[in-house]
């Protein structure tokens, strides 16, 4: 686990994902929750992949492209992160 996530929990995983995602949103007031569909945020596909790359680096994990294909919501992404052993 990376230094900046030394005390992660499922809640903190969700919180971290939201924080990282907000860095890619142009609308600061955009509402985000666990069921937010990532592809509903108006982000280009390349930006979504940049977001995922930053998520990987934040949690010090790799997420393969096949797994990404099944991720639709922030909760899906959180589960993929937690499945890598992040707590």
């Amino acid at each position: 686990m990376s230094d900046n996530t030394s005390s992660t929990s499922p809640i903190s995983v969700h919180s971290a994902l939201e924080t990282i995602l907000r860095g890619f949103l142009t609308d600061d007031a955009q509402t985000l929750n666990q069921t937010t569909l990532i592809n509903s945020l108006g982000l280009e596909s390349v930006v979504v992949l940049e977001f995922v790359t930053d998520v990987e680096d934040h949690f010090d994990i790799n997420i393969d492209l096949d797994s990404l294909a099944n991720i639709q919501t922030l909760n899906d992404l959180a589960e993929a992160v937690i499945a890598q052993g992040v707590e």
Binding site: V46, V47, T53, D57, D60, I61, N62, L65
Partner: protein, 397 residues
């Protein structure tokens, strides 16, 4: 009721919006190819500044004569795969010449550049293996990985540190991973620090594949690509390339310093189940490769005018790709604006490439130009002037 055709609704919408431009960028017809840098489009001579004809060899008499001779001697096609129908002597000779060009023991031909990436990756990696792909890798590299069944991970574009992190996270699996990058990225015309990628791969024992599709003939003292330019031909494991750009034909190849490449012929489905390159194409490719080797002045000319184009467009206040190369991309602030610039350039007699999301590497909209050693100085100035007209009064970015 659902239909298989439902999924085409988005494509139809895109087609309709492109058609409203006047000339649909995906449906341009070159009524007549006049020479390596000019074609008749919409009834008038148009400068080709988007065809990847880097060395300008498509109308070279030696290449045309070789193709004509092969047509007469060997017929129009091979009508099947090499495994089923046998090898033509020129297939074998071209493989020997490509291998010798790189100083490697093995080369393998494919019928297209796309097929070369597909065939190499599908043979080299498989289920349980890992491929690390540059985020901006060409679709053929992605598709080859998918065909292979390997686990695919992306790293940040041209970022060795991003690759390093991901290989480290693999643990023991890193030593059997393949890293795939390109020598010259085709949209923005940028190129990576290849030696740094070699360092990272060697640190973890991973293999490195470099797609030199756009750098064959354009980079390196002898035109072998970025691997030669950076002096790492002895550190790269596999080089994939195409005959459809600098060599003015069609087809692709893989070369390697590893003898095991010869075994790919028995396992690579895109190689086994594709009709082999036709004799005239192989013959013109052999002639073009000879010219590539004998005429380094074409490469020097290419970089001279590439520098002129880059500086000329930069002087217009436009935002361009990060590095000077034979591919010069102009950034536009929106897809709509890029479409209008592209349309105006065509009206001004300059054919370029319109790149809009999702085809662009960073989500931006671009006008992409590629140069040819055969472009005259006057044509380069005409391209610059036309871009100036097409972007006049507006800040492209």
């Amino acid at each position: 009721m659902n239909s298989l055709f439902d999924k085409f609704a988005e494509a139809a919408e895109k087609r309709d919006s492109l058609s409203q431009l006047g000339t649909n960028p995906t449906q341009v017809v070159m009524e007549r190819a006049i020479d390596a840098t000019t074609a008749q489009i919409n009834g008038k001579p148009t400068i080709l500044a988007g065809t990847n004809n880097y060395l300008g060899l498509t109308f070279e008499p030696e290449c045309i004569d070789a193709a004509k001779h092969a047509l007469t001697q060997s017929g129009t096609g091979t009508t099947g795969s090499r495994m089923a129908n046998g090898n033509y002597a020129d297939h074998v000779l071209l493989e020997q010449e490509i291998a010798e060009f790189y100083g490697y023991p093995q080369a393998m031909l494919f019928s297209t550049g796309y097929g070369a990436n597909l065939g190499t990756l599908a043979a080299l990696v498989g289920p349980g293996d890992v491929v690390m792909l540059d985020a901006d890798a060409h679709a053929s590299l992605y598709d080859g990985c998918k065909l292979s069944g390997a686990d695919i991970y992306r790293f940040k574009h041209s970022d060795p540190d991003s690759l390093d992190k991901r290989l480290r996270r693999l643990g023991d699996r890193a030593s059997s991973a393949l890293v795939a990058i390109e020598g010259l990225y085709s949209i923005l015309g940028d190129y990576p620090k290849l030696s740094e990628f070699c360092d990272v791969c060697e640190k973890y024992g991973a293999m490195l594949l470099v797609d030199e599709a756009h750098s064959l003939g354009t980079m390196g003292e002898h035109g072998r690509g970025l691997s030669e330019a950076e002096g790492v031909l002895n550190r790269v494991d596999f080089i994939v390339g195409t005959f459809s750009k600098s060599l003015g034909a069609t087809g692709g190849y893989c070369v390697s310093r590893h003898e095991e490449l010869s075994l790919f012929r028995y396992t690579s489905r895109p190689f086994i189940f594709t009709a082999s390159p036709c004799p005239s194409v192989v013959a013109s490719t052999r002639a073009a490769l000879k010219l590539l080797r004998e005429q380094p002045e074409r490469r020097e000319r290419l970089w001279t005018i590439a520098t002129r184009l880059y500086n000329g467009l930069s002087d217009l206040g436009l935002t361009l790709g990060p590095q000077i190369s034979p591919v010069v991309a102009v950034r536009c602030h929106s897809a709509e604006y890029a479409m209008s610039v592209w349309q105006r350039l065509l009206a001004e007699g300059v054919y370029t490439n319109l790149i809009v999301p999702p085809a662009s590497p960073d989500g931006s909209s671009l006008i992409r130009c590629s140069l040819s050693a055969a472009h005259t100085d006057e044509q380069v100035e005409q391209i610059i002037a036309a871009v100036g007209v097409a972007t006049a009064g507006q800040n492209a970015t």
